[in-house]
């Protein structure tokens, strides 16, 4: 932490020298250079890194797409061998979905959200950094499989049994499962901190109903990531365990079911489409009012549509599985839900059209891409409704029609708005304007090339051409269409290359942009261009949805330090912690500075990933321990630690630092993390009951192998520990900390008792985990309980130590309340595990 030895600038008074204030803030927030640039945790820098890395992966995915279209351009081609083709097509989908679309949009959100809501950074900056490194390392590991010619080749959704060890004995599936899980750490960490940042760090006065629409969209996207990704993480862990150890979760002979993989994958996979679409729609809802020169028509309708889309999209997953033999009534439920989701999407389209209709649209370059989006996405949405109808779905299942629909929705619904957004915010990134000429050429080539490629695929699909085929015979009636499709794809590539060239050249040759060049209404344009590391010198009080339209002088006043928190002499990275509903100030949030720990932890996790790939399990175990040590060391530098905030001094009239209250953002971060954890746990329970109910060869022993007495003893120890912790937290709320350290050590001991007894139950059960899915899934459930119990015990032990060091107590009561949330979660889930795995089988029987 930087210390600036100067008197505190009184809050509310104008700073005597704004230039000095800028310099002081820069000293605290500025980015280091050289090797230390790897320690940067600032959201502006990391958002840009996410986006640049995402574009690199986009180029790799695009190159793979060109290889596919080259192979399919003519019948009976042998441009690629079937094995390589399968790898290329699998990696095209995987790279585009997991390494480009989501990280790119998350990068944009990481960059934009604090600036739009009047904050100085995201609420967990080191988590942003960990997320970036996990994304980079996971992406490199996954992509490296292409170089080794060992890439996954079972399609981007990795259906079992094709992806199982029997039919995919090489390392391709392992690269996918481990690499994607690694990358998903990044997605989840960004999801958690975006939710908390939007809810708790908006500037003063920015109540929910005054929040920029883009923040609403990102809030929904982030929550969907938090709930939607864990089912795939569970599925990936189960499939990797099956491949590496032989636990038969998806093998019928062992009591498993390959359809379970489809459920887990699409429980993630369908919301994923909307996770990608919603931020892109957020870009559209941000740009259209600016270029129409009027507020959006029906702000409340858009909020309604966002929330509805977020929920309904979780009720559609089975429409990807209409042909697997599900009863007609169940198919009808999902068909109806699939049609329902068109309603909120249509509402948004009508809102955008009405805004354009009632405004005076200026057809600048970003608007060109928005118009392209409207045309393409509406077409993709309509074919989506067609695919929601079961009989039609059966007809075109696994044909190029589905490929065409998917690209209309994803390229139209994500890529076009993304480019519109990048053109719109380029002046903010760089302070320079792009070339209209190059940009227009890029748009028209992309738009025409895209439709030439994918409109035609609807026809080849209706003519019966299956997706993912390596080649086709001449005389099927597909030749000319495939040739046209391939030629158009190269036109599209030329267009995208032109856009990227425009982006690259504008940094050097673009005209300097005037401030707020599009006359936008949102706060990000109150930044300098390009922005400083701390975003705003002072944080304003916001009264309207359109702060810059209603007060054009606001950027100058903010930069002059005429608003709140215009103080830097304490040396802390500070911003407001506000009420999630009203935007009233509740505390000052102080953020941690640059750190090596996120990079070190990500490197250790990369070693875990590579060790598991190469089956070096002892090394993987050591790397897990090292990663845990790095993460715990990182957590040590929080709260009242000298490196975080050694003194709690604030300016007169200001609220306390969050670490000196019971109300910090860490509570919210833990809650949202437990939401993700809960989604994982529910997916696990779904798997247990699904196999029990549906699996054709399910084998359950007459008597449960688990000791009920042992499990109840463990559960009681856990519950007593949780109860004591709740009592201590209640005491801290009343400023009482007598016996806090001893209490924490006692709770930790109870946690270790739970772990020990659970471990004894597990070992004494003599589970045949490679023979039956019943035993294998019990093993996973108890391992989950052990992991959580162990984590709870260790964190409580650390809390006891921190009390001894003076970092936790009545003066800094925050952290035990955070740990208590984990304990509550552990108590509830452990009792559910006892009920589901040990009690129900005894009650119902096999």
């Amino acid at each position: 932490m930087t210390t600036i030895n100067r008197e505190v600038t009184p809050q509310g008074d104008l700073p005597e020298n704004p230039e000095r204030l800028h310099n002081d803030l820069h000293e605290i927030w500025g980015n280091p250079r050289g090797l230390k640039a790897l320690t940067i945790v600032n959201h502006t820098t990391l958002g840009l890194r996410f986006m640049v890395t995402g574009m690199v992966f986009f180029l790799i995915g695009g190159l793979l797409a060109m290889l596919v279209r080259t192979q399919l351009a003519l019948p009976d081609q042998d441009f690629m061998s079937p094995d390589i083709y399968n790898q290329v097509i699998t990696m095209h989908g995987t790279v585009m979905m997991f390494l480009f679309a989501i990280p790119m949009l998350e990068g944009l959100a990481i960059y934009m959200i604090p600036k739009m809501i009047g904050a100085r950074d995201l609420v967990c900056p080191r988590l942003t950094s960990l997320g970036y490194w996990c994304y980079l390392f996971g992406g490199i590991i996954l992509t490296f499989s292409l170089v080794l010619e060992m890439a996954p080749d079972s399609g981007w959704f990795m259906y079992t049994p094709l992806s199982s060890s029997e039919y995919s004995p090489n390392l391709g599936s392992d690269f996918w499962l481990l690499g994607i899980t690694f990358v998903e750490i990044s997605a989840l960490s960004a999801g958690v901190e975006l939710v908390v940042s939007i809810l708790r760090t908006r500037t003063q006065g920015m109540a929910l109903h005054k929040m920029p629409l883009f923040a609403w969209y990102i809030l929904a996207m982030a929550l969907m990531i938090v709930v939607g990704f864990p089912p795939l993480i569970l599925g990936s862990i189960l499939l990797e365990l099956e491949r590496a150890v032989g636990m038969p979760f998806f093998e019928v002979a062992g009591g498993g079911d390959p359809i379970l993989w489809q459920h887990l994958f699409w429980l993630f996979g369908h919301p994923e489409v909307y996770i990608i679409f919603l931020p892109a729609a957020g870009i559209v809802s941000t740009l259209i009012p600016v270029f129409a020169g009027r507020p959006i028509v029906g702000y409340g309708w858009v909020v309604f549509a966002i929330i509805t889309t977020g929920f309904i999209s979780f009720g559609l997953w089975v429409h990807h599985m209409f042909t697997v033999g599900i009863p007609q009534l169940a198919q009808a439920f999902f068909s109806a839900a699939s049609m329902l989701v068109a309603v909120p999407t249509a509402i948004q389209v009508f809102v955008w059209l009405a805004t354009l209709w009632l405004g005076k649209p200026k057809m600048k370059l970003p608007m060109l891409w928005i118009m392209g989006f409207l045309i393409i996405f509406v077409c993709g949405g309509l074919t989506g409704v067609m695919l929601a109808l079961v009989p039609f779905n059966w007809q075109v299942h696994d044909t190029h029609f589905v490929v065409a629909h998917m690209h209309y929705v994803l390229v139209g619904g994500m890529f076009f708005p993304l480019i519109a957004g990048l053109y719109y915010w380029l002046p903010l990134f760089s302070g320079r304007m792009p070339s209209e000429t190059l940009g227009k050429w890029g748009f028209w080539l992309t738009f025409l090339g895209f439709n030439g490629t994918f409109l035609i695929m609807h026809w080849t699909g209706l003519l019966g051409m299956p997706r993912r085929v390596y080649s086709y015979e001449t005389g099927m009636g597909w030749d000319i269409f495939n040739l046209l499709s391939s030629m158009s794809s190269f036109v599209m590539s030329a267009g995208i290359a032109m856009v990227l060239l425009d982006f690259a050249l504008h940094f050097r040759f673009g005209k300097p942009a005037k401030h707020n060049p599009w006359n936008a209404d949102t706060l990000e344009w109150a930044n300098s261009m390009p922005p400083s590391a701390y975003n705003f010198v002072s944080l304003p009080k916001i009264e309207t949805r359109h702060p810059l339209w209603d007060d054009p002088d606001l950027p100058r006043a903010m930069a002059a330090g005429e608003h709140s928190l215009a103080v830097a002499t304490h040396g802390r990275r500070e911003m407001w912690g506000t009420d999630p509903l009203t935007g009233k100030v509740r505390e000052i949030i102080h953020l941690p500075g640059n750190s090596w720990w996120p990079l070190f932890a990500a490197m250790a996790l990369a070693v875990v990933c590579i060790s598991l790939l190469t089956r070096l399990y002892p090394l993987a175990g050591i790397a897990v321990v090292i990663a845990a040590l790095f993460l715990l060391r990182w957590s040590w530098e929080n709260g009242a630690h000298p490196k975080a905030a050694p003194d709690a001094h604030v300016a007169p009239g200001d609220p306390s630092l969050h670490s000196r209250t019971m109300d910090g953002p860490g509570l919210w971060a833990m809650s949202i993390t437990m939401l993700a954890n809960g989604s994982f746990f529910l997916s696990y329970l779904f798997g247990w009951f699904y196999l029990w109910t549906v699996s054709p060869e399910w084998r359950m022993p007459e008597t449960s192998p688990l000791s009920l007495v042992g499990l109840v003893v463990a559960a009681v120890a856990l519950t007593v520990g949780g109860g004591i912790l709740e009592k201590l937290v209640r005491g801290l709320r009343q400023q009482r900390d007598a016996g806090l350290a001893i209490g924490m050590f006692s709770i930790s001991a109870l946690g270790f008792v739970q772990v020990g007894v659970t471990l004894w139950v597990l070992l004494s059960a003599n589970l045949a985990v490679t023979e039956t899915s019943h035993d294998a899934i019990i093993m996973v459930g108890l391992a989950y309980a052990l992991l959580h119990g162990g984590l709870g015990a260790v964190l409580t032990l650390l809390q006891g130590l921190r009390v001894g060091y003076g970092y936790v107590g009545a003066h800094a009561p925050f952290e035990p309340a955070v740990v208590a949330q984990l304990w509550r979660y552990n108590v509830v889930t452990f009792w559910i595990i006892v009920g589901a795995l040990a009690v129900l089988p005894r009650v119902i029987g096999s």
């Binding site: 929910l208 409340g300 979780f314 009720g315 169940a330 009808a332 439920f333 549906v694």
Partner: protein, 118 residues
């Protein structure tokens, strides 16, 4: 307790998610219950739609419709008594409850016409 009651007030934004959470719960209950019923005690195909499974699924759906419709009316009425942020919250919540109600009606309609386990 006071905080909990405040959160349950119809102008609280928690109602943005309660209606659709109920819709999701209904959806999972109907889909899961239907799957379990067909696995454990499938009715004879010649019974058509006049089965205990269809009847129970309809009852669950009517209960969900009743709760959601009542909350729709409640939020709509509450919106009239407020201005600004609270009116916005209640109005959007009313719309979301209405959509959830109609969502149950629409997705439950096949129960009337399709035998359960074919």
């Amino acid at each position: 307790m006071t905080t909990t009651m405040q959160r349950l007030h119809l102008t609280h934004p928690l109602h943005f998610v309660i209606g659709l959470t109920l819709w999701c719960t209904w959806f999972v209950a109907v889909y899961g219950g239907h799957a379990v019923a067909c696995a454990v005690a499938p009715p004879a195909p010649e019974q058509g739609v006049f089965t205990l499974v269809n009847a129970l699924l309809l009852v669950v759906s009517f209960v969900a419709i009743g709760i959601l419709a009542a909350l729709t009316v409640g939020c709509y009425r509450m919106a009239k008594h407020h201005q600004g942020r609270l009116r916005f919250n209640a109005t959007v919540s009313a719309g979301l409850y209405l959509f959830s109600t109609l969502g149950v009606v629409f997705a439950a309609m096949p129960i009337i016409g399709i035998p359960p386990c074919l």
